[in-house]
């Protein structure tokens, strides 16, 4: 079978959560419904590529998936006479009865689906994989490629995730208002991690990798459409867009890492920046600034600055201070130290780092060393910077980052450079 046309694929992926949502509502059996929808998507990719789109694509998919599900139920009943599942209590034919499926109901179902896939009882890795399949409409092969693991491994991971959803009895519904904020936080966290996973690996020989960052943006966009009044959802979408806007400039011709201050800003995606800023402008006045809106605000200041030197660093320091008050995250502290150094000079930044050195979460990681090396370099302590760049290089688990850090050390250590 030829690979489906990109537009067709996009269409199918967008329909996937809607169809699955409808089936989940009818059958109450997420795992079985999910399998059926995957089969229907494969069938659609074949038929639609050959015969063109049906008049009502969603109804087509619902019908095909329901038929698969009905066959499954019949077979299960035939296999064992006793009825074990809720599904089997409903006559198979009744499950085919088509409900109204008005758009509002479909949206509710898509939202319920997302909450289910990002349930806190799942590990982040499982939640990401499950979300990509159930909400993103990706195949197991595509998800396996994204994580660079064998297909069988990913299939197993997804099936275990589905099993733990079944066992933990996570209901397929929008969480009640009391639990909503917490559960929404879990969803946002999963989407954030999905994006980071793709962003960290977005260089090098990434041709065959499924674009995880792009998928995270797509699903977050869906979530924003479903709950447009949640400022943190808009904040996350803004953050992802404003970060992703710099993607092309982030790596050099040989796949090497280019730090923010040296990036060619002409290569930043202006349209993504405009969209991110507009989202943020809509969210911030709601007066509930959470970590995603604040990080997006920092990203926006970078994206709108003509150069690193002309960036509004005092404003960035202020934003990091609000973030620090909200959450206890050493990465925020690190970024705060960097921004402080930009405003008050490297010595002030280094002093803040000294306080952080005792944080067990940072001790022994390459990040603290790398930041300190940067600041030492700016302070003129080149031997100290070289030593720390090298130590950081030995500690990072990212090849691209290691190469960058080694190159920084080697550059300072070059015979022509002063201080050797």
């Amino acid at each position: 079978m030829a690979a489906p046309h990109a537009a067709l694929q996009e269409r199918l992926r967008a329909l996937a959560p809607e169809v699955l949502g409808i089936l989940c509502r009818r059958t109450k059996d997420f795992a079985a419904a999910e399998d059926a929808v995957q089969e229907a998507l494969v069938a659609a990719a074949q038929h639609w590529a050959a015969d063109g789109l049906p008049e009502q694509p969603r109804a087509w998919l619902v019908q095909v998936a329901s038929r698969r599900l009905t066959d499954e139920v019949r077979m299960a009943i035939a296999r064992r006479a006793r009825e074990q599942t809720v599904v089997s209590l409903v006559p198979a034919e009744d499950q085919l009865a088509l409900g109204a499926d008005d758009d509002a109901a479909v949206d509710d179902d898509s939202l319920a689906l997302l909450f289910m896939c990002c349930h806190p009882s799942l590990s982040p890795t499982s939640a990401i994989a499950l979300t990509l399949r159930a909400v993103g409409g990706l195949t197991t092969v595509e998800i396996a490629r994204a994580f660079l693991v064998p297909e069988a491994t990913m299939a197993q991971r997804i099936s275990r995730a589905k099993q733990s959803i079944r066992e933990s009895g996570v209901p397929f519904e929008r969480p009640d208002p009391q639990a909503f904020a917490d559960r929404l936080g879990a969803v946002l966290h999963v989407l954030y991690l999905m994006f980071s996973e793709g962003y960290a690996a977005s260089s090098g020989d990434a041709v065959v990798r499924t674009d995880l960052s792009g998928e995270a943006v797509r699903v977050t966009r869906l979530l924003h459409r479903l709950v447009p009044d949640e400022p943190e959802v808009a904040g996350l979408l803004a953050l992802l867009l404003l970060t992703d806007a710099r993607r092309a400039a982030r790596t050099g011709p040989a796949g090497e890492l280019v730090p923010l201050d040296q990036q060619d800003r002409a290569r930043w995606d202006r349209q993504a920046i405009r969209e991110g800023v507009a989202l943020l402008d809509g969210a911030l006045p709601k007066g509930r600034p959470g970590p995603y809106q604040l990080q997006a605000a920092v990203a926006a200041l970078h994206d709108e600055a003509p150069s690193a030197a002309q960036t509004d660093w005092p404003q960035i320091v202020a934003l990091y201070e609000v973030l620090r008050a909200q959450s206890d995250n050493p990465m925020v502290d690190l970024n705060h130290a960097i921004a402080t150094a930009m405003v008050q000079g490297p010595a002030a930044g280094l002093a803040l780092l000294d306080h952080l050195a005792s944080d067990a979460r940072l001790a022994g990681t390459h990040r603290l060393d790398a930041v300190r090396a940067h600041l030492l370099e700016r302070a003129g302590d080149l031997p100290g910077a070289v030593a720390l760049y090298r130590r950081a290089a030995g500690r990072t688990a990212s090849t691209v980052e290691r190469d960058y850090l080694l190159a920084m050390a080697a550059r300072l250590n070059a015979p022509s450079a002063p201080g050797t």
């Binding site: 040989a254 290089a393 030995g394 500690r395 190159a407 080697a410 250590n413 070059a414």
Partner: protein, 132 residues
């Protein structure tokens, strides 16, 4: 047939590459990248990974209670596994050829490193009837 090509580098603290001049380092990194691309294009690369430096390495054994006992750092080690390739090729000779190419990666001043690459065949799957 699959072969694992293991790249060993001299031990004694962090990877020696860390002290190379900038241009040598860049040349070496570019060689490794284009080498991987070439193997991919030839359909011979299964996977390749670089490993973090010796300072991060730990040797782990289970204690009597089953909990991990870790050992390390190993600054004294003579040689260290820096990374590996798994290639799928038609003959051992081809695997040796690829290993030789990797061995000659440019080092300081662009001179070939001629570092030792250990080549081991990856055992194939058991015959069907042996499996469940």
């Amino acid at each position: 047939m699959k072969y694992m090509l293991m790249m060993n580098t001299p031990g004694n603290g962090p990877y020696q590459i860390a002290s190379w001049p900038h241009e040598d380092l860049v040349r070496h990194i570019q060689f490794m990248k284009s080498f991987a691309r070439k193997l991919t294009a030839a359909g011979e690369l299964v996977t390749a990974e670089g490993l973090s430096g010796p300072d991060q390495a730990r040797r782990v054994r289970a204690g009597n209670d089953g909990k991990p006992i870790t050992d390390g750092v190993f600054p004294e080690a003579k040689e260290f596994l820096a990374g590996y390739w798994i290639v799928q090729v038609d003959s051992a000779e081809r695997a040796y050829q690829i290993a030789a190419e990797a061995s000659a990666a440019p080092g300081k001043g662009g001179t070939p490193l001629n570092m030792p690459i250990e080549v081991r065949e990856v055992m194939s799957e058991a015959p069907r009837e042996w499996q469940e």
